[in-house]
C-alpha cells in the first residue's frame, strides 16, 4: 500500500481546482447527501434536457478524495443520457470494489486515478459519495 497510489497528482489537481463547482441558476434537480460517519457533504445539482444531463455542478465539504471524485464525476456525466450516467455509477462502484473493469468506458480518463482508493477500504466511502448523489438525483429526475 503506497500513499502515492491514493494521492495521485491528478486527484490533487481536481481537489485544488475543482471543476463545475457552483450552482445552476434554474431547472435543476438538487441532491444533498452526506457521509454520516465522517461529516463529508455534497450538494449536487444536475439539469436534464431531452433525457441528457446538460449541466452538473456541486458544492461540498470534505477530504481530497471526496471532492476530487465529485469534480471528476461532474465532468464525466455532462452530455450523457441518464441511463448512460447510471451505467457509470455502476462501473465506478465496481472499480471501488477492486473489480477488473474496462477503464476506457469512463468518458474522462482522470477517473482512473481514483482506482487506487480501492486499496484503502476506509476511504472508499469518500470516493463514492458524489456518485451516490448522482444516482439519487437521476432517480429523483425519473420520478418527476
Amino acid at each position: 500500500m503506497s500513499l502515492d497510489d491514493l494521492y495521485q497528482r491528478v486527484i490533487m489537481d481536481h481537489y485544488q481546482r475543482p471543476r463545475n463547482k457552483g450552482r445552476i441558476e434554474e431547472g435543476a434537480v438538487t441532491v444533498d447527501l452526506n457521509n454520516p460517519t465522517c461529516g463529508d457533504r455534497i450538494s449536487l445539482q444536475m439539469r436534464v434536457e431531452d433525457g441528457k444531463i446538460d449541466e452538473a455542478r456541486f458544492l461540498g465539504e470534505g477530504c481530497s478524495i471526496s471532492l476530487a471524485s465529485a469534480s471528476m464525476m461532474t465532468e464525466a456525466v455532462k452530455g450523457l443520457t441518464v441511463d448512460q450516467a447510471l451505467e457509470l455509477v455502476d462501473l465506478f462502484s465496481k472499480m471501488m470494489q477492486g473489480e477488473a473493469i474496462d477503464i476506457e468506458k469512463f468518458p474522462v480518463e482522470d477517473i482512473e486515478a481514483l482506482s487506487g482508493v480501492a486499496k484503502f477500504p476506509a476511504r472508499i466511502k469518500c470516493a463514492t459519495l458524489a456518485w451516490k448523489a448522482l444516482e439519487k438525483g437521476i432517480k429523483q429526475q425519473k420520478r418527476a
Binding site: M1, L6, Y7, C38, G39, R41, G62, I65, A122
Partner: protein
Amino acid sequence: MNRYWNDFPILNQEVNGHPLVYLDSSATSQKPFQVIETVEAYYKGYNSNVHRGVHTLGTKATDAYEGAREKVRRFINARSIKEIVFTRGTTTAINLVAASYALPRLQQGDEILLTPAEHHSNLIPWQQAAKRTGAALKYLPLEEDGTLDLEKVKETVTPKTKIIAIQHVSNVLGTVHPIKEIAELVHKHGGVIVVDGAQSVPHMKVDVRDLDVDFLAFSGHKMCGPTGIGVLYGREELLEAMEPIEFGGEMIDHVDLFESTWKELPWKFEGGTPIIAGAIGLGAAIDYLESIGMDQIEEHDRKLARYAVEQLSKMDGITIYGPKENRTGLVTFNLDGVHPHDVATVLDAEGIAVRAGHHCCQPLMRWLNVTATARASFYLYNDETDIDRLIKGLQKTKEYFGHVFR
C-alpha cells in the same frame, strides 16, 4: 515502552510496516491480557445462564456476574448494587433514562438543559424526549475554549429545569465540567442531573456520592473492558420509581396471563439473558485499573496531553481545539490545508491510529466552525515516544501534501 504496554497484546504488532502507535483510546481502549483471559476462562470453564437453574456452572456464572456488579458499585462508590444496572453501553444507559425517567415525567413548560458539546448519544435521546413531551431543550453557553462558566450556568438553571444532561469530559475538547457544582445547582431547583461519564470514568476517579449525581452512564469498552457492556448508575429512589422499558424473561417476579410484576432493583431493568461475559470482563477491567490506581492513570493521561499540546504547538499550521489548561488525555487538532481524513490516512500509513471526523459531535463541530477534526487520545499504555511518532508523522503529512500540492 511504558510498563503497562506489555499487558496489551494487540499493541505488539506492525501496521503498514511500522510498529503500531494506538492513539484512539477515546473511541475504544485496548484490552489487557487480564481481561481477555477472564472472558476466555468464562467461556471455556463456566459459561452458563445466570439467575436460573441450580446446576454448578449456573451458580458460578451468577456469582461472577453479580460479583462484577459489586466491583462496579465499589468503583464508583454507589451505595448499593441496586443502583447498578448493566446495559449495552453509554447510549443504551442514557436512552433508558430518557425513556423511563423523562418521558412519563416531562410536560410542556419543563426544560432539559444540555451543552452544545454533547456527544450525539447524550443529545438525541433528549431531542426525542423533548419532542414527545413538549418540554423545551435549552443549551448552556460555552466559553471560547469550550469550558463552562458556572455563573452563566447559575443564570440558566431555574425551577423549570427538570433535567440537566451533561458530559463529564468532552470527547473532543478534553474539558472537564464542574459536575459537583452543577449537580448542587440543579438539585436546589428540584431537577435531576444525568452525567455522560463515557470519557471520565475510564480516566479518573469518579465518585457518585461525592459528585452527588442522580444518573451516571458509562461504557466498558473505553476502560479496558469488552464491547457491549455498559453501566447505568441511578439513585435508588429514582430507579425504584421508574418502570422498565424492556420486558421479557429475567426481569419478572410473577407472571399471569394478563398481569405481571417485576423483579426488584436492579434486575427489573435487565430483561433477557444479560451480557454475562461482558459484565465479567468489565469486572476484570476494573480490577486491572484499580491495581494501577485511577489517580495515577489520570495524571499519566494528562501528562501526555500536556506533552502533545506542547509539541504540536511548536509545529506551524496546527490548530489545537479546547482549553490550554486542565485537559484530559486527548488532543483535537487540524493541520492547515489538509483535511483530517487525509491526515489520518497518511498517519495510518506510518502505523499511527488517530480518529478523524466529527467525533459524533456535529453541533460542536459547527460551534468550532469546522466540518471535521483529527484527534489523538491517550491511555495508560501510551507514552511520550508515541507522541514523538505522531509529531514525526504529522511532519511527514505536511511534507507529503506540500509535495503533491505543488
